[in-house]
């Protein structure tokens, strides 16, 4: 049971508390819910960071969008830059949990929870986002694929606080999407998800990034899938090849949410839909945010 709960008045105070062994809480949608479900007891000492204005807000810093660790999913869905240039993040943020989860849950908590099923993970990875970690001894910036070391595990030290997530903003000609298999329309958790970020140059794909969600112990990009699309015309054959490569990289488990066979089959379908939607957006076509419901029943062929 929690013995100590403090609300930090400054980032320095929060970091000092972490150094003394406290764990941070922001929205509480993972920590509190998990403890009530018996997943993990609440930490002995908790430091609340939810009142730290310095950690709030979305700021454009040159070619980078800096997301304060307290930015909520709802903030992300409503941000023009995110919707226009980092659309896959908007897709993902719009379908996390419920209305209440999106209003309460933060990007920082989401990233540090390091769930292989987190919706914003695949888009952030594809955009090349980095985590800004601050501790008493200074600040460092870590790429997300170096931060996430396993399900629920990160390379951050106990004394480090995630203060921001920095996302490079791509230029014109880039489109992105995140698509998730959805059994129902709210309160859903990823069983299979995929993100794609593609840049078109003339008619050809100049850059392709594809990542898969809930299909591997850690959310990861699939270079074979990216290679299948990169340099292609972005047509149906290339999309199919990339989707097949994404599915081949999946190492799904069987559980109450679905069998491994079903997940593997869905990996290909969902990856294909994500790539198709990203290409459509790169071409300037309208695909609504979030993409998943809009693509329900899409029977394969490119948009």
């Amino acid at each position: 049971m929690t013995a100590s709960f403090t609300s930090a008045a400054s980032v320095e105070e929060a970091i000092a508390a972490l150094g003394d062994g406290a764990r941070p809480i922001a929205g509480g949608t993972d920590l509190v819910v998990g403890s009530r479900q018996g997943k993990a007891p609440l930490p002995e000492a908790i430091v609340a960071i939810d009142r730290l204005e310095d950690l709030r807000g979305i700021r454009r810093e040159g070619d980078v969008l800096a997301l304060g660790t307290l930015v909520t999913h709802e903030d992300l869905v409503g941000d023009d830059t995110v919707r226009t240039h980092l659309t896959a993040i908007a897709d993902a943020s719009a379908i996390v949990g419920s209305h209440a989860t999106r209003a309460q849950g933060t990007i920082g908590g989401n990233v540090m929870n390091a769930s292989p099923a987190m919706d914003t993970g695949a888009p952030l990875l594809c955009f090349g986002a980095t985590a800004v970690l601050r501790s008493a001894s200074g600040e460092r910036e870590v790429a997300l694929d170096e931060l996430w070391t396993g399900p629920g595990a990160t390379s951050a030290g106990a004394g480090e606080l995630l203060t921001a997530v920095r996302v490079p903003v791509p230029g014109a000609g880039t489109g992105s999407s995140y698509v998730r298999l959805e059994y129902r329309r709210q309160m859903e958790i990823a069983v299979v998800g995929a993100a794609a970020v593609v840049t078109l140059d003339g008619g050809a794909v100049r850059d392709a990034r594809i990542a898969i969600t809930a299909l591997t112990p850690v959310i990861r990009r699939v270079s074979e899938a990216e290679a299948a699309l990169d340099g292609s015309d972005g047509g149906a054959d290339a999309i199919a090849a990339a989707a097949a490569a994404a599915a081949a990289a999946a190492t799904p488990i069987s559980d109450v949410r679905g069998s491994a066979d079903y997940r593997r089959a869905m990996a290909e379908v969902i990856a294909r839909r994500a790539i198709t939607a990203a290409l459509a957006r790169a071409r300037g076509e309208q695909v609504p945010v979030p993409a998943s419901p809009a693509l329900f029943g899409t029977q394969g062929a490119s948009a």
């Binding site: 959805e182 709210q186 949410r257 329900f296 029943g297 029977q299």
Partner: protein, 759 residues
């Protein structure tokens, strides 16, 4: 509208419990507290099936803050149960499912109680668990109840080993008729268990004063709970008072003595008020929260013109570890394997089997949605086999006035064919649709439930009124509508009345919120009490006004001479001395006669009084690649007799339809090999959300029902969920070209069916 007769006027009415519920000021059982209240926690079985060798509570009792630890050894040695007395409050010698209660702890805080419960040391001899409810009846299967033969049971129950109850419905000679049939169609379907999932988890607060106990409980059946406490703690019913604060839903999952006895025993031992509040996981695994898994085989003989000549069916149901109140479920399922069809020759048998799974209970229209889902898909297969449109097949085979039911019950005028026409019209049956969309249709039925009830209506000295009823409000609004009925009888306004309800010390016995019976029976009693008041008012007014009783009318809070409104006396004046009290029960309608001589295991369901008849149609879209199904539109046309409260009745259908979507597509309890639930939480037991609710169209075929509920009404509450899954299934099958034979029809199962792989 094909309606006959007239509906009650459609007015907006403000439910007297509405504002507190909507604004969050309402108090539910878990919100109740008392000075010195202690917290209860249960210690559950550590194995789904095991002999208890010893229980050592000393370490628990030694924990500071622990006030009492209770086991069955501290209580009267009483077995209880609705049709078979097979259970004790706490496990005595054997545990038979994962959430069986072995001991209870009362402590100063819930945390201490939980820790003490963990510290109880129990030695077991683990027994093989029987989770597969079909394998449970195989020769040599381990017995869930070794002493089953010695149990006290209803004399009409036919039991054998793990088969808790065996039933048949027999009419004519099905074997001969099947042999002579032009075409015979077979079908096999299997449903998983699913849950009631009321949003309010169970809570109980017990408080003793001398040898009397008051128990606040989130129950649908306070009088059954009272009787159960009296039986298990060996005390008079008069000494037990059950009060239900606001009830946060039930859906049949709160229909029995559940935990009132254990908490009362803990409170007596602790010499303190004791409160139990369930977690969501406890709610999922507790006794009687779930529907049965059912394996169904159907065989139908049919002519090429669509006449049903014979039906054979075999049903195997998963009762789980104990009877609870659900001893009748096998017979009910057998009636649903016949359905509201004209069939000359029938042979249906059902096996209600014990397993080491969670015991099942009367979740909304128990057994009907699952069996209807299987049967209605089978009927579509029959239609396909003779090349007939499935709606046309139903048009030719549904019951009508004068037709004989499965037990030769002769039906009065029934509106099921009108519901078929109305539902298909509302949904636009026959329209051209994209290849991944289709419309499916299903029909179903459900009996109205005759039962005694009693009520009082007091007119207070100022002319306001108090209705005292044993009825239980489960959220449907059935009790909240009672003032309107009384006001209509007395020429008063609904808001002139308050209701004293769900308190066993206040009113006569009532069956509770189950069996779609509140308006049907409690409504009858309240109207009878209002009529008693009306007679008293007319007598007194005739004296005072020196008028003939027959010339008087009740209107606007007055009794006045018809045609001379100035000759009037107010109800308040007559009631000023506080002597106007009415009471009533009304006559309980009788079940229609049947010829069920060939049927085994007759528990009363062989006769369907005032059957509620339903057609629903579903327009769905299927994502063949993923198996995800979205329901785009539902149409429901019901014959529930005359509708007394249109807003309330429509609300029941909207809720039932959405619940039906869940049953159809996502709600299934997944068990491990020993019967433990693998998804006892709301993340992986997937309820339907508001965002999934489709457009819903509702209409009523209003035919006054003879010998049924008040003003020609039938029941309303349970049928809305009966055919929903069947309609959705038939739509999915139309898109895929084959049936999905497992319920729920999850995306993976639909995908597997579409792609012909093993799910």
């Amino acid at each position: 509208m094909t309606a006959t007769g007239t509906a009650a006027p459609e007015t907006t009415y403000i439910r007297s419990d509405g504002i507190e519920k909507v604004t969050g000021t309402g108090r539910y059982t878990a919100d109740m507290t008392m000075t010195g209240v202690a917290a209860a926690k249960f210690r559950y079985a550590d194995h789904p099936h095991a002999k208890i060798l010893s229980i050592d509570t000393s370490a628990a009792e030694a924990l500071p803050g622990v006030l009492a630890v209770v086991t069955q050894a501290d209580l009267p040695d009483v077995r209880f149960g609705g049709f078979t007395q097979d259970r004790t409050l706490f496990a005595r010698d054997v545990v038979r499912f994962e959430a069986e209660i072995v001991a209870g702890v009362a402590a100063t805080t819930p945390e201490i109680a939980a820790e003490a419960a963990r510290r109880i040391e129990i030695e077991y001899e683990v027994l093989p668990a029987v989770s597969d409810f079909e394998a449970a009846m195989a020769p040599g299967a381990p017995l869930v109840h070794e002493d089953w033969a010695s149990y006290v049971r209803d004399e009409n129950i036919v039991a054998d080993g793990n088969t808790f109850a065996y039933h048949t419905i027999v009419k004519g000679d099905a074997d001969a008729a099947m042999a002579g049939a032009e075409i015979v169609v077979h079908g096999r379907y299997r449903s998983d268990a699913s849950q009631g999932v009321p949003i309010e988890p169970r809570a109980v607060l017990a408080h003793w004063q001398g040898d009397e106990v008051t128990i606040w409980s989130s129950t649908q059946v306070p009088y059954a709970a009272r009787a159960g406490v009296a039986q298990t703690l060996d005390m008079p019913e008069a000494n037990v008072r059950i009060v239900v604060p606001l009830l946060g839903g039930g859906f049949g999952a709160k229909c029995d003595l559940h935990f009132e006895g254990q908490v009362a025993a803990l409170a007596r031992a602790a010499r303190r008020p004791v409160k139990l509040v369930f977690s969501r996981e406890e709610e999922f695994t507790a006794i009687a929260q779930r529907r049965e898994g059912i394996a169904m085989e159907f065989e139908t003989g049919v002519t090429r013109e669509g006449k049903l000549v014979a039906r054979r069916a075999r049903l195997v149901l998963d009762k789980g570890a104990y009877c609870g109140e659900g001893g009748f479920l096998g017979q009910m399922a057998a009636m649903h394997a016949c359905g509201p069809y004209r069939i000359d020759h029938i042979a249906v048998e059902s096996f209600l089997n014990y397993t080491n799974n969670q015991p099942s209970g009367s979740v909304r229209a128990p057994t009907a949605p699952q069996v209807c889902w299987g049967l209605e898909q089978h009927m579509d297969e029959v239609a396909a086999a003779i090349g007939m449109d499935p709606v046309e097949l139903r048009r030719r085979t549904l019951i009508e006035e004068g037709a004989e039911g499965p037990t030769r019950q002769v039906f009065d005028r029934v509106g099921i064919k009108e519901t078929l026409e109305r539902a298909t019209e509302m949904i636009g049956y026959g329209q051209d649709l994209p290849e991944d969309e289709a419309i499916g249709v299903a029909v179903g039925w459900w009996p109205s439930m005759p039962a005694p009830s009693g009520a009082y209506v007091h007119i207070n000295g100022d002319g306001s009124g108090t209705i005292v009823t044993g009825a239980q409000e489960n959220g449907s609004g059935a009790v909240m509508a009672l003032p309107r009925f009384v006001a209509e009888e007395l020429g008063m306004q609904a808001q002139d009345f308050t209701i004293l309800y769900q308190d066993t010390a206040a009113a006569n016995w009532d069956m509770g919120s189950c069996g779609s019976q509140t308006t049907f029976n409690s409504g009858r009693a309240v109207l009878a009490a209002a009529a008693d008041v009306r007679e008293q008012l007319l007598d007194e007014a005739a004296d005072r006004l020196e008028a003939d009783r027959d010339d008087l009318e009740l209107a606007d809070g007055h009794i006045r001479v018809k045609g001379s409104p100035e000759r009037a006396v107010s109800i308040a004046d007559i009631a000023a001395d506080g002597t106007v009290h009415g009471k009533g029960s009304g006559e309980v309608p009788e079940a229609p006669p049947v010829d069920a001589g060939g049927c085994v295991g007759r528990l009363g369901n062989e006769s369907f009084l005032a059957p509620q008849l339903i057609t629903q149609a579903a327009h769905v879209k299927v994502d063949r690649e993923t198996g995800v199904v979205r329901v785009l539109k539902l149409a429901a046309a019901h014959d529930s007799g005359m509708i007394l409260n249109r807003i309330g009745a429509d609300g029941q259908v909207f809720g039932g339809l959405v619940m039906g979507i869940g049953l159809a597509l996502s709600e299934g309890t997944i068990l491990d090999e020993e019967g433990r639930q693998r998804n006892p939480h709301l993340l992986d037991y997937k309820l339907v959300t508001c965002s999934d609710a489709p457009e819903m169209l509702v209409d009523w075929i209003q035919i006054p029902a003879k010998g049924a509920g008040p003003r020609g009404s039938k029941g309303v509450g349970e049928p809305p969920q009966v055919p929903t899954a069947g309609a959705i299934a038939n739509a999915i099958a139309k898109v895929l070209g084959r049936q999905v034979t497992q319920l729920p029809m999850t995306p993976e199962r639909v995908w597997a069916t579409a792609n012909e792989v093993e799910a």
